[in-house]
Each structure stands twice: as C-alpha cells, then as structure tokens.
C-alpha cells in the first residue's frame, strides 16, 4: 500500500519540521523562550537524563495501569454493549451524554478522593479514556458479520472454537482501533493530570520547569511525551499489520 514516494515525502516533512525547530529560534524568528532550538532542548534532556528517566518511569507506570483499565474495561464493556440490542438501547444514550462532560474540571475531585500521587492520575486517565474506547468498541462490534458465526457453526465449530477462530479475529480490528483511541487519551489524561497537581511524572516536570521559565527543559519534557505517543502509535501500527493485515483493501462495510 505504502508507495515509496509517500514514505519519502513523510520523512522529508519530518526533517523540515526538525530543521525549523532548530533554525527559527536560532535566526531570531521565534524568541528562544517560546521555542528553544532543538539542540538546546536535546542538551537539556541529556544533561539531566537521570531526572527525566525517573519521572518518565512514573508516567509510564501510570499510563500502563490506566491503559489496562481504560482499554481493557472499555473494550470489554463496549463489546458487551454493542452485541446486545437491549443493552445498547438502554445505555448508549447515557454513555454518549456522559462522554460530553468535560472531565478535566472534575480532576480536583479525583485528587481529593485519591490523593496527589499516582492513584489519582491512573483513575483520572482511566475514566478519561474509558468512554471513547467503549463507544469505539461498541460501534466496531456491530460491523461484525454475524453470518460468519453461523457458517462456523455449520462446519461443526464448538462455541469455544467459534469464539477463538471467528469472533476473535473478526473483532481484532475493532480492538486495535479502540486501543488507539483509548491509548492516545490515556497519555493525555496522565500528562495533564500530572501538570495540574502532582509530585512526579513528566507532566509534573513540564509545569515545574515552566514556572522556572526554563524553556529548554520544558521542551525536553514535551519531547519525551511526543516520543511516548509516537512509540505507542508505532506499537499499535505493528499489531495492526501483524493481526489485521487482511483488512487492507477490504472495501469498508457500510456502517449500521
């Protein structure tokens, strides 16, 4: 699918962006307080690598735990909701409305309930990623062709075999796309909550260095968040190629 020209183009765009990051502040187009040059940012990152590493570990743990709850729970509940017409009618409107609540304003409550340590971040990010993941999974599960299950049954597949050989592969694309939605939101949730009230984590570093007006260190932390998000996306992409390679070129089924 990916033709070499598109790939090269993408690389060139990334290179241009990186070059702008270095050159614009150097040439004085942007004050380096707003955007410190890439090399200065990288230098800040490496000179205090152990500090960043220590805080990155905290963030990673929070993201990992929140991913488990948001995506695990969201995908599971979404599938249950999506596969039962009755549940869907009953709960989907509620879930959709709940989705509209700006959760960030509730974050002070989370810190009141769970303290300012890792727990409040995990809970907040889990809740933050849960609903969109659930909605994505609920919509995805409905696109699964039910006649495939009947076909498997006609070939003598036991219920367990139907789940393993038909339901699982058929839901894989939904699971992965839900994971992508949920994962991105969980990272946002963790970093934002760290920025608001906390004692550790990359988000905490961002807001601490910002109050010190130490731009290179702020951007070094931002760089880490970006890399975390990109790494996560690459992992999901890898899984998509591995498990849902057959999906490419399949004409999209009409959405119910």
């Amino acid at each position: 699918m990916v033709c070499p020209t598109a790939k090269t183009t993408r690389r060139i765009i990334v290179l241009i962006l990186l070059a702008c990051w270095e050159l614009l502040p150097r040439l004085g187009v942007i004050p380096s307080l707003f955007l410190p040059p890439l090399t200065l940012t990288a230098a800040a990152l490496f000179s205090e690598f152990s500090v960043y590493w220590q805080h990155l570990l905290v963030t990673l743990q929070e993201v990992g735990a929140a991913l488990f709850f948001a995506c695990g729970g969201g995908i599971l509940c979404g599938m249950l909701l999506g596969s039962s017409t009755r549940l869907r009618r009953l709960l989907l409107p509620v879930v959709s409305s709940a989705y509209a609540i700006p959760l960030v304003v509730l974050y002070p409550l989370f810190t009141a309930w769970f303290g300012i340590g890792m727990q409040s971040k995990v809970v907040f990010a889990s809740v933050y990623g849960f609903l969109p993941t659930l909605l994505g999974a609920a919509a995805g599960i409905q696109t699964i062709d039910r006649s495939l299950m009947m076909t498997a049954r006609s070939m003598g597949a036991s219920p367990v075999q139907q789940i393993r050989y038909v339901l699982l592969p058929a839901t894989m694309p939904t699971v992965l796309s839900s994971l992508r939605i949920g994962g991105a939101l969980v990272i946002v949730g963790v970093v934002v909550s760290e920025m608001l009230t906390s004692t550790a984590g990359i988000g905490f570093l961002i807001s601490r260095y910002r109050t010190m007006l130490d731009s290179p260190r702020v951007f070094a932390a931002i760089l880490l968040v970006l890399m975390l998000a990109i790494l996560f996306d690459l992992l999901v992409q890898f899984a998509e190629r591995r498990f849902t390679g057959w999906k490419k070129n399949v004409p999209a089924k009409t959405f119910p």
Partner: protein, 261 residues
C-alpha cells in the same frame, strides 16, 4: 482427484411430516407444514417456491442448524441432530468466507475444527480447490477474488470432507446471470464427478430445471409440497435445451402452480 462416480446409499435424504413454526417473542410464523419427501442417493434435487415460503427454513433444518417443531429428518438413515459437515456440506447464498484467511485456509477451516493433521488438511484442501478449478488461487484472500470465485471457494469448503450430501441455499443468487450459468455447469460437473446428493434451493425455475433430476415445488407460506416433477431431459444438459418445447412446458407448469398455490 479420481473421477470415479460412486453413489453411496449414505446420500439418501428422508424427510417425514416436517413442520417448522418460528417463534420470535409473541409472534409465530408457520414456515413449513407437514413436509415429506425422499431423495435417493446421488440425485440432484431443486427446491423452488414463492419468496418467504420456507425454503431457507427447510435447508436450515436439513443441515442441522435449526430444530424442527415436529417431524423427522434422516440422512443416510440417521437422524440429523446438529451440523455434521463430514456427512452434509453446506453452501449459502453469500460465500461467507472468513476475510482474514486465504482461500486455502478457508477450505481447510472445517478440517482444522476437527483437529486434522496439517498435512492431511493441505492435501484435502488442494484437491477440493482443484475440483472447483481454483488451485492457482489458494493464497489469495477473499477480497482478492471475484464473486464467482468466492462462491467456488465456498463450494470447495462445503465438499472438502467429501460429504455424501451437499445442501445449497440459493448459492448463485448473488452472481450475475452469465457467471451464474457458468457456475451451474461447474456444479453439474462436480456433481457428476463426485456422485453426491445435491439439494439446491433456488428462485430461478430455469436453473432448477436445467440442473435437476427432480424439482420440489413448495406452496406459499406455510410451505407444503405441492408438486414433485421428474426432469427426464437428457444429460449432459446444454444451453439450447433451455429453449426446447419440453423445457418450456415444464417451466410453465411449475410457474402455474406457484402462481395459483
């Protein structure tokens, strides 16, 4: 694959006083009413009837995917208790291939379900694909095949365990007219080579007469058998035959029955 035609008595299909009443919530639908017929082994039998008369319901019972309200159903003298692809192969209107598996893996699927060894699976799948003329296409995914090819894969999957009976519910209905005719000839070729009993549900009277030894005509719902017509036209059947006086006479007779029933 060897071209021996051995008609085994195991392909006999017996249906006695079969009645099917669908219940969904409050509503009940009387789909089949007291149907009885016997199909001798190795025969090609079509089932026609007005839309909604219960043809698919009948087929679901025949392949063990549904439970009848009352009546008896035997293939090779044994009752049909549930899906049994080694005895009864099924082909639906839609090919229903698993999109994440190649054509070959799709054909191997029923064998994998039974934990057959990989080697044996591969041999059988290759033979089945060869029989439907797709040995070159085993590594393609369903979306890389045409509608006709997909349905061929589906047929290969239905017969990969060499069942005595092949049950088909409007298998060519989703295909264009030309492909449909080609597929009909193809099916006849496979049927002649393998000697299976074929039960073939269709909307097309021409197709039914062209392919079959016997045609069962069902009435509007609740479906009852209103006629059983022996098609004594010579084989191999040719396209010209469809415009012969005899052919047209049979078709008119069936149409008249369906219209007035």
């Amino acid at each position: 694959m060897t071209t021996m035609t051995t008609v085994s008595a195991r392909g006999t299909v017996q249906v006695e006083n079969l009645t099917q009443i669908h219940r969904s919530g409050e509503r009940t639908t009387h789909a089949l009413d007291n149907i009885s017929f016997t199909i001798p082994a190795g025969k090609f039998v079509s089932v026609v009837g007005p839309s909604g008369c219960g043809k698919s319901s009948l087929l679901m019972l025949l392949v063990g995917l549904a439970q009848s309200t009352s009546g008896e159903l035997r293939v090779a003298g044994r009752p049909v208790a549930g899906p049994d692809p080694a005895r009864i192969g099924v082909v639906f209107q839609e090919a229903n291939l698993f999109p994440w598996l190649t054509a070959r893996k799709n054909v191997e699927f029923p064998l994998m379900i039974r934990n057959m060894s990989v080697k044996e699976r591969e041999t059988k799948a290759r033979d089945a694909l060869e029989l439907v003329g797709l040995d070159e296409f085993g590594d393609r995914y369903p979306h890389e095949l045409s509608g006709g090819m997909r349905q061929r894969v589906s047929i290969a999957r239905g017969i990969v365990q060499d069942p005595d009976v092949l049950m088909m519910d409007e298998p060519f209905a989703a295909l264009d007219e030309q492909t449909r005719m080609v597929m009909g000839d193809e099916l006849l070729r496979i049927w002649e080579r393998t000697g299976k009993t074929v039960v073939f549900v269709t909307h097309s009277l021409t197709e039914a007469i062209y392919l079959s030894d016997h045609v069962l005509v069902l009435s509007a719902r609740p479906g009852r058998i209103i006629d059983r017509i022996d098609i004594d036209l010579p084989r191999p059947r040719t396209f010209e035959l469809t415009s012969s006086a005899e052919f047209i006479q049979i078709r008119n007779r069936i149409w008249e029955q369906i219209r007035t029933a």
